[in-house]
Amino acid sequence: MQFMKILEAVNVHKYFPLDIFGRKKIRAVDDVSVYVTPSETLAIVGESGSGKTTLGRILSGLIKPDKGKILYKGYGFNGFHGKVQMVFQNPDSSLDPSWQIYDIVSEATNNKSLESVAEALETVGLNPAYVTKYPYELSGGEKQRVAIARAIATEPEVIILDEPVSALDASIRAQILNLLLDLQEKKGYTYVLIDHDLGRVWHISDRVVVMYAGKVVEEGKTEEVFQNPKHPYTMMLLSASTSSIPKPKIHVDIQGELPSLIDPPSGCRFRTRCPFAQEKCKTEEPQLYSTSSEHKVACHLFEKF
């Protein structure tokens, strides 16, 4: 292997039971393998209900998979080791409202000194005088900066960004994304970006994993996947985007909605919405076929596209 995988999920499953007997389960993540290499940005995209958020939490260790394992630098781990941190979507929920900013950030530092907290705040572009404030005194963008400061204060290797700017105002989004790019450049962090916005994925990711109904349907280098999508679902997502990203060669109109995750369709899960679906798609579940060394797609018909 030429590259080291810093964080890896191997065949992870996560089913959420709906009743105490566990007869009905939501198959949130269903046999998924992803990895991320040092200092790269892996994006996980999909609609809500695709399992991307659950997968992000499995990678962080917050959710234990039912089956499969998480490897950090090749070793399995149980519980938390502090090297994987997370930035959450909702800035209002990610900071303890009864703590001052100093306490919030110093909880993450090793020596709890005021200097290290001030340094972390300066790194994310906040005035160190903010240590005295409470979260309710901060704007959404500032809260998100504090959340980033908390994450980097632990000197992590991997930061999982769960829709880090979706809840922010348009003029603030660019600031936060620039900050994230800056930090990666300076400190070499590895990012896992979970986002529904393809414009942002195109902007900052190196590799992308497209998820649909708990499965990976396509993965590969971002340029490759965006410019030469092989899965009809990826084409549909690209067609639907309002961001300035490459338009797919084959435009796929949006139709239908995400299928039931309790009782997903047989064969290919996307076939109920796929304009190209054939008989084979109903009976046989597609494997992840490799179209090039790093580009994989789970579609029987990929050779046609």
Binding site: H81, A147, A151
Partner: protein, 296 residues
């Protein structure tokens, strides 16, 4: 470093401004503020009663029996000639003290159980909650009467009879409050920082639900006083001649038509204190809610 000193000073000052703002909101509610003064006054009198009463609250003096309020006996005397004011002052430590200690014990145990069951869920949580629900079948007062009947009369058994029924009430309240907070992202962030369950419960969850517990405790102080007095009144609580307020009323109930003040003065006092605690609870609810802080 100078900067360091100023920052630390500012941090403490800022913490104080929030406390001042909370105090100001509280003071703005005049009735609630008045209630707190009443409670403080009655509390102070009860503390005084430990050391000093105008007359001996226990010693009968038949020559002075059933005297109406006068200058020598501001609230009159009872059928044994005991000064009612002295008995009320002396009884505060029983009624208020018992209620306070019982509520604090019940609230503390219940809060621990609720935090644990709300945070861990799973088997621990389910067990705690099912047991809790069994105890919640009956109203607090009936539950307390039941325990008092089993445990017998006396200080300790009254204490337990009032405290035990409070435990499930708090366990349930804190459980549901914990559920609302446990899925907040800052809890997840703390987990990623390798913080332990108890650490998260006491540092992240408890401070954010404390205002709910304080407000509830204020209401339950009223309930506790009422329960202690009711048990005394029924003869199931602190036995006479101890001047516990409910006991005083219970002992005197035969005189309700002939010498009403013997019954009504301690009775009205109980009512005033209970109502004051309830109004105080309303005021605290407004002042302490951290969500309303941004409006200050």
């Amino acid at each position: 470093m100078i900067e360091r000193e100023t920052l630390l000073k500012e941090m403490n000052e800022h913490k104080r401004t929030i406390k001042i703002a909370t105090w100001k909101t509280f003071k703005r509610n005049k009735i609630s503020f008045l209630s707190s003064l009443i409670i403080l006054g009655v509390g102070a009198l009860s503390v005084l009663g430990i050391f000093y009463t105008p007359y001996d609250p226990y010693k009968p003096s038949f020559s002075e029996a059933l005297m109406p309020p006068s200058l020598t006996h501001p609230l009159g005397t009872d059928w044994l000639g005991r000064d009612i004011l002295s008995r009320i002052i002396a009884g505060g430590k029983y009624t208020l003290g018992l209620a306070f200690v019982a509520i604090v014990i019940g609230a503390t145990i219940g809060t621990f159980l609720g935090l644990a069951s709300g945070y861990y869920l799973g088997l621990i949580g389910a067990t705690i909650q099912r047991i809790t629900e069994v105890f919640l079948i009956l109203p607090t007062l009936i539950m307390a009467t039941l325990f008092a009947a089993i445990l017998g009369t006396g200080l300790l058994s009254t204490l337990l009879a009032v405290a035990i029924p409070i435990i499930p009430v708090y366990a349930k309240l804190v459980h549901s409050a914990t559920l609302r907070v446990r899925n907040e992202d800052y809890i997840e962030a703390a987990k990623l920082l390798k913080k332990s369950g108890p650490y998260i419960m006491f540092n992240h969850i408890l401070p954010n639900i404390l205002h709910i517990i304080i407000v509830q405790t204020t209401y339950y102080m009223g309930t506790g006083i009422l329960t202690v007095s009711a048990l005394g009144f029924l003869g199931l609580g602190v036995p006479s001649p101890t001047p516990e307020w409910g006991t005083i009323v219970g002992d005197a109930k035969g005189y309700i038509f002939s010498y009403p003040y013997v019954v009504f003065i301690p009775g009205i006092l109980i009512a005033i204190v209970v109502v004051a605690f309830n109004i105080l609870g309303d005021g605290l609810r407004e002042a302490l809610d951290p969500k309303l802080r941004r409006l200050l």
